[in-house]
Symmetry: C2
Subunit: 415 residues, 2 copies
């Protein structure tokens, strides 16, 4: 049994309310896959003509549902999304493939579509065969009773050990038409053994082609989900899917087929903002979190280099533990910049903790005063800025600290 983690100090006091999206309906169920007395199955039914795009884990040991989605995405259209929590259906061999195929077959029969219109995601234990028979019989009934106004229960059904559901909504204007973008995701709550999955599902009523959606998602995932880390461990199941029902066309929106179209500018910005919001919500629910940490790198040779330096800091155990200890240990920032392998001018490097400049021109800043910076470290949100001194490109990465609770959550499972 998974232990119940204490709620993240960053859990929102109030969840955002997501309006319905025309052309999408949700239903959830308690299928008893691993958990008792909670929902663990989500079905989203989408109207015909819904375009789909997605970004999937780069893991070489990816799960059976990831391989399935990769195939469906080639086609780029969607009718049903099925998500279960409690079992990742990863590293399950032929049995895993069979479970995915049985799920797709039942989902396609439920709405009368082809297999290739089905998308599947699973999150939970790795290596345990998933018994799809526990829920394939339920899919027909769920598809029939699905309702539009159910984003919060949908977000709750996919949680594993997240301490709160992660929801966000935005509106954007395409031409003269207002469209809605809703998203929810689950994060890096790896309390029970093997939980290690970031799943994100985004829905919009905009009429945008699968190709354009894919280009937007590829662009924005870099500065949002791929700029967030808990412990640097990449899951076998990471999945981010976006579905566009095109219902806004009935309200006069002319369909868009190119990501670079000027008409998509506002939508693109809103989508990026929503994805950033969700990514930050995931970081703020990181295992054992006591502090939310933002690393901003300026003055790098390229945006990719800036991101690599920021991630090198955000994934450094020794720096993250120092932050947990409220220690303004900027020497460890120097170390993490140095080990990133990216260009940085040792003699131009500058570092700020909040507004406090701690190092400049490759050495401790003249005005550095440990007491003031130590006081800053007592804040629950910490921002560390680095100027690499070699260019003019920037990147930002979000993470949490590394605490005793992280070790307890991940090590003391059997105690």
């Amino acid at each position: 049994m998974a232990k119940v983690a204490k709620e993240s100090p960053f859990a929102p006091a109030r969840l955002p309310v997501l309006p319905p999206i025309q052309g999408v309906r949700f239903a959830t169920a308690e299928a008893g896959i691993r958990y008792s007395n909670r929902t663990d199955l989500l079905v989203a039914v989408m109207d015909e003509g819904t375009a789909a795009a997605g970004v999937l884990t780069q893991s070489k040991t990816c799960s059976a549902p990831v391989l399935w989605c990769r195939r469906s995405l080639k086609h780029g259209m969607a009718r049903v999304l099925v998500v279960n929590s409690g079992n990742a259906n990863a590293f399950t061999g032929m049995k895993g493939r069979a479970a995915v195929e049985a799920t797709a077959e039942a989902a396609a029969a439920a709405v009368g579509c082809k297999d290739r219109d089905i998308y599947i995601a699973s999150t939970g234990v790795i290596g345990e065969p998933l018994d799809a028979a526990k829920f394939t019989d339920l899919l027909g009934d769920l598809a029939a009773k699905a309702v539009p106004d159910a984003f919060e229960p949908a977000a709750r059904a996919i949680m594993t050990t997240d301490t709160y559901p992660k929801l966000a909504t935005r509106t954007a204007r395409i031409g003269d038409t207002d469209v809605t973008i809703n998203g929810f995701c689950k994060g890096a709550g790896m309390i029970a053994p093997d939980m290690a999955t970031m799943l994100c599902f985004i829905f919009t009523d905009a009429a945008i082609s699968a190709g354009a959606l894919q280009d937007l998602l590829d662009e924005h995932v870099k500065t949002t989900f791929n700029s967030m880390t808990i412990d640097g461990d990449t899951s076998t199941s990471d999945t981010c899917l976006i579905f566009a029902t095109g219902a806004a066309e009935t309200r006069g929106q002319k369909p868009v087929t190119k990501a670079k179209s000027k008409r998509l500018k506002d939508f693109s910005d809103a989508l990026c903002d929503l994805m950033r919001d969700l990514a930050i919500q995931v970081a703020k629910d990181g295992e054992g979190i006591s502090k939310f940490v933002t690393f901003t790198v300026d003055g790098a040779e390229s945006e990719a280099a800036a991101r690599k330096i920021a991630l090198s800091c955000a994934n450094s155990p020794i720096l993250k533990t120092a932050i947990a200890g409220e220690d303004p240990n900027w020497g460890r920032v120097v170390m993490a910049v140095g080990k990133s392998g990216e260009a940085a001018d040792r003699d131009q490097l500058a570092i700020w903790f909040g507004d406090h400049c701690v190092a400049r021109n490759g050495e401790r800043a003249e005005e550095y005063e440990e007491t003031a910076v130590a006081k800053y470290m007592k804040n629950s949100e910490i921002t560390i800025r680095i100027d690499a001194g070699v260019g003019d490109k920037s990147a930002t990465v979000w993470t949490c600290d590394l605490t005793h609770d992280y070790v307890s959550i991940n090590a003391d499972y059997r105690s």
Copy 2:
């Protein structure tokens, strides 16, 4: 002040005794650089004609002594090595350069040699100016009173928060002559803030050219020091130097100038064995260690790929905490293999914990029995073997687990 860490459970009951090496003498002193009541300065004086080779940190923010050694190594000859503990002289700008130059000047004057025959290493706090005046006056006296039979005090003087000195000795035969190889190092005891330095010094009386020594060191560092990790954090000061006095020539050893010479085979094997011994000693003194862990990867496409997969496991916080918790969590091994980015056949992958096969052909092994494997996890030394299923190359990496003590050591500095 640094906290005193409890001794590693792997501290040796008895330290190895290292015989003198003809042509090398040591002296140590209490220079009061940061610590009180302990030695923190080491001077090694070598006879004229001593060849030198070295491998230095790849960090872009490397320390002033590392830059100095890089210059001296071009020349390839050595007379004096000066090492201080307590201050890393890293990220100290122009002041750092000046401190290194003052040290080299004083050391050169002490034995009457050129600057370029001097090697310097510093370990300790990053970012604090090093006051070389605290010890430059001592160097003349130390050089004069240096003695050959002092490897243990030498190893103790360079310790920061290591819980035991790390020493090793080997003999090898070159032609008909027996030669000795001695080495000592300090490790990843990062208890006070910023301590993060691996320093290793190896001495031999063999007559081998600097070029051949460099080739041997480059080759063996891959499978020894670069196959060992505590937390994946690369220091600004990592330094491994080897010095060959050539004194064995007086006993009939014909000098060797090519690493590939057949006459060096036995020496090369002994050197590699000594370096592996020292690397394992460092891992066994990792911060907060409760278990020593060996990852062996077979069936990889190349040796480099095998090492990358093994390091991906050895640096995974979530896998290392599971090991600390005695949880045979092989799903996290699957994750770490997948995130390495190296080729692995998901459907051929096999994993063993000790002699217990837990996964085979891409899924849980039929004979897997959790009770037996959980019992195995109670051992203090854990071996995890992975077959990537795509080739016939192997690599081994050593590490420790990630424990509450690691967090305490690195986070609770100010508490």
